[in-house]
Symmetry: C2
Subunit: 789 residues, 2 copies
C-alpha cells in the first residue's frame, strides 16, 4: 500500500494518507539547531546537542505514538468544533479531514482542509539562527465570514535529556516561565549555576497564552483534547517549577476567500533581546520568503555537486535527492537523534562518522576536513581510537585512554579509507602533512596518524595471524574477546593499508609504500590460507579456536562481510571472488536484501557474543542489515556483474518499495538500518530509518560503482557498471572546481569502451584534471554486454 509519492520537481515526498504505518519524519536545520518533525507534526528540537541541548521534549516509543510535537489547533468560534492542522493529535475522521504533508529539503509543509478552512503550516529552521519557524496560512474557502481561534502548542524539555527522563525529583522544580507581553520566556538554572533560556513568540496579535503544560492540556486529557482549545481560551498560566510549555492564542477573522498568515517562532536565545529581534524580523513581509529561499539555495548547492539522469526514476530520485539528503543528515547527527536514537548521547560514533564522510565529501569537502581533524584528535597514540567521541566536551591528556575491553578492532582502520576519499576528492596534499595531536599524548601528521592506525592492528593479532576481534569489529554484536580473531577486521586492515599505500605514493614516500605493500601481501596470503572455507571466507575464530562462518558450523555458516570485502580489498585470488560472491547470492539474498549471515543463531554462544542473544532474523542475527548491502553491490560492480549489482541495489532502494509501505513500515525516502529476516514473523519490516551507515555506502555504491564515477588522485575515473535495463545515463559532477558533464551510452555490438573529453578521444577511462571553472563534456560509449570478471 502507498501512503504518498515523490514529487521530484519540488524535491518533496508528499504524504497523502496521514495514518502512515510509523511516523515518517524529516530533519530541519543543520548543525546549530535541529528540529525533527513527523508527518503528523510530532517531534523534538535541540540546539547543538540532542543530549544536553534538548529544547522540545519527545516521548519515545510512546502510546499514543509520536507525541508531543509542534501543534497548531484551530477552533471554529461558532460551534466550538476544533481540529489540528496536522491530522494528529486531534485526529478528525479522515472522511471529513483532508490533509497532505510535504517533507522537503530542510522544511516540512503540512496542509489540511476541514469545514472549508484551508490551513497550511510550513516548518523550517532558518539558516544561521538558533530557532524554528512555524508559519501558518489559513484561508476561508467557504462563502461565509469565519471567526477562528488559533492555538499553538509545544512542550518544552529541560535541556538535559537524561535528567528530563529520570530525575523528576529535581527537574520538575527548576524551570521558570513567564509571559512578556508578546512572547513566552522559559528559563532554567541548573544546580551548578549554569542557566538556559528559550522563547516562544508569534508575529500575530497574541490574545492569550499558557506556559504550564497541565494548564493548557487539563487533567486526564491529552494533546488530542486540550482543555484550553476545547474552552476556546488559554488561562495565562506561568509558574516556577513543573512542566513548561508554549501556547499562544491568536484570533483570526476571515472574509470569504480571504487568507491570512501568522508565524510562530521558538528558539534557544535570550528572549528579551535576540528572541524579540527574530520575531520582529519575521513580521516583515519578505522575511519568510527570503529564509525559505536561503534554504532552497543551500540544498541546491549541496546536491548540485552531483546529479544524474538514468531513466530509472526510482534510482534517480534517491541518488539526486533523498540519498544525498540522508547522507548530510547522518554526517550532521551521527547516530544521536532520531525517533529510535533517543539522544542520550551526542558527539560522533568514530567509525560511523568516518563512513558518513564518504557520502558528503564531494559536496562539503571543507566540512569534511574539519570533521576529519576532530576524529583524528580522538585517536590515541597507540593507534586505536575511542569508539565514540564528543567534540563538545572531549577530555584530552595522559589519562584519556579507552577503558580496558572497550577498544574495537575496526574504528581506527576507517581513518585510512576516509582520509583517502577526502584526498582523492580534493587533492589537498597539505592535509596529510598537518600536525594533529593524539587524544592522550603527542602528535603526528595526519599521514603519521594513518600509519599508527595500521601499527595498532599489526600489534594486535591472534594465533592465526589475524586481527584480534577485541570488543567488537564493525559488527557490534560479535564480541570475540581474548584470543578471538576477526577475519573481517583483517580484510579491513588490508583495504586500509591499500588506501594508505596510495597516499604514501601520493606523498612520494616510496619506502613506506613498499613496506605497506609487502605487509599487505603477507596478510592477504595469510587470510587466503587460514580463512578460506572452500566456497567462502570464514568470519572469525573465537577465543577457544572454533571457527565462525564455516560450512562446518551448525548455525552462522556464512557471513556476508568477509565475502564482499575480500573482493573490495582485492584479496580474493584465483576463483575465490566468484565462488564467495555466488555463495552470498545463493545463501544470503532475499527479495528484501541480503542477510548478514545464515542460518540465524538460536542459542546463546558466549564466545561469539551478543549477536547470538537476539531473536532469529532480528538485527545482526541474520537480519537484512542494510549497511552491509552496498558492499556487496560494490563487490559485484568490481566483478562487473551489473545485473546482480543492480538487483541488490533495487532490493533495498527505499523509493522502490514505496508501494509496499504497509509491509516495510519505514519511510520510503530514506535507508534504514535493517529489514527483518526470514526467520522472523514480520519478514520484510524495515527498521531504524535515517541514521545509518547504509546512506553513505549506498551513495558510494551508486555514484562510484554503478554509475562508476570515481575521483582519483589525478583525475576522475568513469567506469560504469549499469544493468541491461539502464540504456545509458548522464551525470553532472563538480570535481576540484571543474564541471564534468558526462554522458554514458550503450552501443550495440561495440567491443571496447570509447571515451571522449570535449570531443577528443582519451586512452583510458580516466579524465585528467581540468582547469578550475571549466565545463567539460565527456562522452563514453560502452558495449551493451559488459564482460564479467
Amino acid at each position: 500500500m502507498k501512503f504518498g509519492f515523490f514529487d521530484d520537481e519540488t524535491r518533496e515526498y508528499v504524504i497523502t494518507k496521514p495514518d502512515t504505518p510509523a511516523p515518517w519524519i524529516n530533519y530541519l536545520g543543520a548543525s546549530d539547531y535541529c528540529a525533527i518533525i513527523s508527518n503528523n507534526a510530532g517531534g523534538y528540537s535541540f540546539s547543538r546537542s540532542p543530549k544536553s541541548g534538548r529544547i522540545l521534549r519527545f516521548r519515545f516509543n510512546n502510546i499514543p505514538e509520536d507525541r508531543p510535537g509542534r501543534y497548531i489547533y484551530i477552533r471554529d468560534k461558532k460551534d466550538g468544533d476544533y481540529w489540528s492542522v496536522s491530522w494528529q493529535p486531534v485526529g478528525k475522521p479522515l472522511e471529513k479531514f483532508k490533509t497532505e504533508c510535504r517533507h522537503g529539503l530542510g522544511y516540512t509543509k503540512i496542509a489540511s482542509m476541514y469545514k472549508d478552512i484551508y490551513a497550511e503550516t510550513t516548518y523550517f529552521v532558518p539558516k544561521n539562527k538558533r530557532c524554528e519557524v512555524w508559519s501558518l496560512k489559513v484561508e476561508n474557502k467557504s462563502g461565509k465570514r469565519r471567526k477562528i481561534d488559533v492555538f499553538s502548542y509545544a512542550e518544552f524539555c529541560f535541556w538535559n535529556s537524561e535528567l528530563d527522563m529520570k530525575d523528576y525529583q529535581y527537574i520538575l522544580y527548576t524551570s521558570k516561565t513567564r509571559f512578556c507581553g508578546d512572547l513566552i520566556d522559559y528559563r532554567l538554572q541548573f544546580g551548578d549555576g549554569k542557566s538556559k533560556e528559550a522563547f516562544f513568540g508569534s508575529t500575530g496579535n497574541v490574545k492569550g497564552f499558557d506556559s504550564v503544560r497541565e494548564a493548557f492540556i487539563g487533567q486526564y486529557r491529552s494533546e488530542k483534547n486540550p482543555l484550553a482549545v476545547e474552552r476556546g481560551a488559554c488561562s495565562s498560566s506561568a509558574q516556577e517549577g513543573g512542566n513548561p510549555c508554549g501556547s499562544l492564542h491568536i484570533g483570526i477573522e476571515l472574509k470569504p476567500g480571504e487568507s491570512k498568515r501568522v508565524n510562530f517562532v521558538l528558539g534557544e536565545v535570550n528572549s528579551a533581546g535576540e528572541g524579540r529581534k527574530i520575531i520582529r524580523y519575521f513580521r516583515k513581509n519578505d522575511s519568510l520568503k527570503r529564509e525559505l529561499e536561503e534554504i532552497r539555495k543551500m540544498w541546491e548547492k549541496k546536491l548540485g555537486a552531483v546529479q544524474c539522469l538514468t531513466g530509472i526514476k526510482e534510482f534517480d530520485t534517491m541518488f539526486n535527492i533523498w540519498n544525498q539528503y540522508q547522507c548530510h543528515t547522518t554526517f550532521n547527527w551521527s547516530r544521536s537523534a532520531s525517533y529510535i536514537e533517543a539522544g542520550g548521547r551526542d558527539g560522533l560514533g568514530y567509525r560511523d562518522s568516518l563512513q558518513d564522510i564518504l557520502g558528503v565529501v564531494h559536496s562539503i569537502p571543507a566540512k569534511v576536513r574539519t570533521r576529519l581533524l576532530e576524529l583524528l584528535k580522538g585517536q590515541t597514540s597507540m593507534g586505536c581510537a575511542f569508539h565514540h567521541i564528543q567534540p563538545l566536551s572531549m577530555v584530552t591528556g595522559e589519562g584519556a585512554l579507552p577503558v580496558k575491553g572497550s577498544v574495537y578492532s575496526d574504528d581506527h582502520l576507517w581513518l585510512g579509507i576516509a582520509v583517502g576519499a577526502y584526498i582523492k576528492e580534493t587533492g589537498d596534499k597539505n592535509f596529510l602533512l598537518e600536525d594533529v595531536p593524539y587524544i592522550d599524548k603527542g602528535s603526528a601528521s595526519v599521514y603519521g596518524h594513518l600509519l599508527k592506525s595500521v601499527e595498532f592492528s599489526l600489534n594486535n593479532v591472534g594465533p592465526h595471524g589475524l586481527c584480534l576481534g577485541l570488543a567488537a569489529d564493525w559488527n557490534d554484536c560479535i564480541n570475540l574477546y581474548g584470543r578471538g580473531e576477526s577475519v573481517w577486521s583483517t580484510i579491513l586492515l588490508v583495504k586500509a593499508m591499500d588506501e594508505i599505500m596510495q597516499l604514501a605514493d601520493y606523498l612520494g614516500k616510496k619506502a613506506d609504500a613498499l613496506r605497506l605493500k609487502k605487509i599487505k601481501q603477507k596478510i592477504s596470503g595469510g587470510i587466503n590460507r587460514v580463512a578460506w572455507d572452500g566456497k567462502w571466507y570464514l568470519r572469525a575464530y573465537v577465543n577457544s579456536g572454533r571457527k565462525v562462518g564455516a560450512s562446518s558450523c551448525g548455525e552462522g555458516k556464512i557471513f556476508v562481510n568477509p565475502q564482499s570485502w575480500a573482493v573490495m580489498s582485492g584479496i580474493a585470488d584465483g576463483g575465490k571472488a566468484k565462488f564467495c560472491m555466488d555463495s552470498v547470492y545463493k545463501y544470503l539474498n532475499t527479495e528484501f536484501g541480503i542477510r548478514l549471515l545464515s542460518p540465524a543463531y538460536s542459542k546463546y554462544d558466549r564466545e561469539i557474543g551478543s549477536i547470538t542473544s537476539f531473536p532469529r532474523g532480528l538485527k545482526e542475527n541474520a537480519g537484512i542489515f542494510c549497511h552491509a548491502n552496498p558492499w556487496v553491490i560494490i563487490a559485484e560492480c568490481i566483478m562487473k556483474n551489473s545485473t546482480r549489482a543492480f538487483e541488490y541495489c533495487r532490493n533495498i532502494l527505499p523509493s522502490a518499495y514505496n508501494s509496499s509501505s504497509d509491509r516495510r513500515k519505514a519511510e520510503p525516502y530514506v535507508y534504514s538500518q535493517f529489514t527483518t529476516g526470514k526467520e522472523n514473523g514480520n519478514f520484510g519490516q524495515t527498521k531504524n530509518p535515517w541514521l545509518t551507515g547504509t546512506a553513505a555506502w549506498c551513495f558510494v555504491a551508486s555514484a562510484n560503482y554503478i554509475l562508476g564515477i570515481r575521483p582519483d588522485f589525478d583525475g576522475l575515473v568513469v567506469d560504469p557498471c549499469i544493468p541491461p535495463e539502464m540504456k545509458g545515463f548522464t551525470v553532472k559532477r563538480y570535481f576540484r572546481g571543474a564541471l564534468y558533464d558526462i554522458r554514458v551510452k550503450k552501443i550495440r555490438g561495440s567491443a571496447r569502451p570509447v571515451m571522449l573529453l570535449n570531443g577528443k578521444g582519451l586512452k583510458s577511462n580516466r579524465i585528467p584534471l581540468q582547469k578550475k571553472g571549466s565545463k567539460n563534456k565527456i562522452c563514453l560509449s560502452i558495449p551493451c554486454q559488459q564482460r564479467q570478471r
Copy 2:
C-alpha cells in the same frame, strides 16, 4: 475539596471522586515483588529491583498522565459500548459512571457501576509469590441477561529500566512472546546471555489474546480506545521483538442478579512451570480469600506492635495505619520507586535507610538487624560511608572507596542513631559485638564501626573546629566544599556521640564513654561559641569564611535544622533553646508547615551550593521540607511546649488536609517530601509523596515524643507531651516480648505525674522491663497544664 475519606474500620482510604488532582497510589507486595498502583489502576511492577527487575512499564511525567497500568476493559456485546473497571483509561462521563477506589494495606480494590454492570477488581501481591493478582468480580444488576467481553491489559517492560527508556535500537529487538494455550509467555535474552521470563494468565476460559502492544492498541490510538476492545476481539498477536503486552479476552454471560469472578495473574517466574502452578492454585475456590487473609494478618501483626487511641481521629488514623504503612514502604524501597522516583536506581540511600529504620524498628526488629548489617558493610574503614549502596550488586575490596568529592558529612553519623534505636528497642547487646567487614578492607565490631564513624567526622573539621560540609550534609543542596563547615553536621556529630556514649555505657566501656563525653562537651562548647548568632544558630561557614543562616545575611538568614537539632542534641545552653525555637516559629512557620529557611535565595551562590539555584519556595530553597518538621516537633516536645508541638504536627498531618486536596494535590494519607513555600505561586502544593524520611521521623515524633512512649535500654519511658485538646490517650505497645497497655489521663489540678504499673506506683516515668509474654497495665496521670521548659 475532598476526593475521598478514611475508612479506619477497614484500614482503607476510599476515593470517591476518581479525578484526583494527581494519581493517588498504593504499594502492593513487600520486598520480592512490588506493584505500584494508582486509583485509576495506573502503575508499574518490579521484582526485587525497580532498576533491573522492571516487569510492567510506566511512563513517568506523561501526557496522558498515569499510563499505562493494570487495565480491565468491559465491552457490552449488544451495543459494543465499552469501558474500563477503573474510570481511566476509557474515562466515561462521571455522571453515568460511578466508581470507588479503596486503597488498603497491601491491596487496592477498584469498583465501578456502568450500565447496570457492577465490576470490582481487587489487586494484590500474594505473600511469598513473585506475582500479582487482579481479581475481577462482575455482577449483573439489571433485569436482563447480559453478555459481556472482558479484556485485561498490561504493558511489559524490558526489565532494565534504563535501557527501556533509552536504547530502542537494542531493546525493541530482544523480547519474545507467545501464547501457550492458557497463558502468555514473555521472555527476553540480554546481550550477555542472561534471560528473564514472565507470564500473564487467567483462571477464566481464555477466548483470545494479544501479546503485541501495537496489535492490541492499534495505530494512532491509546489505552483509551484500544482497537481490540472496540472491535470486541483480540488478534492472537505474538512476535519476537517489538513491545510485548499481555491481554486476555474472556467472555462472560450473566443472568439477572448473577455474579462471576475471574482472576488474572501476572508474574516473573517460568511460565510453563511455576506460572501455570500459580494459576491452577488461584482456580481453587478458597485461594483468593486465603491469600487476602494472609496479607491482612501480616499487616495486623506489623501495625499491631503499637496502636493508640487519642480521641483526635486525624492523628489516630495516621498513627495507627497510614504513617506506619508508609514507614514500612520507605523501609522496603528506600527512595527508589514511586511516581516521582523513576526507579533508575535501586539499593539504599545510606542516610535515608538509617532514618527509615526508626519508623519500623518496633515492628520488624529482625529485618532492621539485617538492614543495619547491610548498611554497616557500606561503611569504609575510614569511617565515612557510600552515599548510596546496592546490596544486590555491591562491589567490595581495596578499590571500593567513594570517589573524591562524593562523601557527605552526615551519612556515617546516622549509624549511631539507628543502632542506638535498635538496641534500645531490642536489648540485643550481642549485635554491638558482632564483627562486620568494612566495604574496602578490614572489619570491626558494630560498636567499632560506630566509633569509626565519629572518628571520621573528628578528622574532618574546618577552621572553626566545625565539621567540614563536604559534598553536602542532610541538605543535598548545601555544597560547601573546601574549607566550608556545616554547623548542622557538627550538631549531628554531638547527637551521634551522645547515642554512642550510651551504647558504650551499656557495654560497660566506661573509658570510651568518658572520652566521648569530653569530646562532646568540647564540641558543644565550640558550637555555642562560634555558631550562635544572637537569636538562633548559624547554618554554616562557606569556603571563604562567610556565614550562612545569620541575621547579617541578605537571604537565607535563618535555617530550621540547626535550631531543632540544638535542642534535640542538648547543646542549646542558657536561654538559647527558647530563643532559637521562638525564632523558628516567628520566621519559618506557615499554615502548611515549617520552611527550611528564610528568606529564599534569589541568586546563585557557588559557595553555598545548588540550593541557591532552585526557584524561590521550591524544594530546599525555602520550601516547606517536611522531613525537617518532625525535628521541630521533637524539639518542642523536649521543651514541653505541647501546644506548639501539636500545631506543627497538625500542619503537616496528611489526614488533616483531606478536605483541601485540591490545593495540596498529593495523597492525604501519606507524608510528602515538601510543600511549596510562600514565594511560589502555588504555595501549599504538596509534592513527592511516599518515599521520604518524613514518614519515619513523624512516627518517631508522634510515638516517642507527643505520646512520649520511648524505649530505653532498661525499660519503656512514658513521657507524653500532649496538647490541651487531647484529654488523654491509650496505647497498646509490644516491647521486648511483653505487652504494655498504657492509659494516660489528664488530672485537673494534679501537681505531679503519677504512674501505676499493674496497679503499683512507680517512682519515675520509666517502666522496668516486664516478663516476655506478660500483659501489663500502665496508668499515668498527668497535670492538665504541663510545665514548659
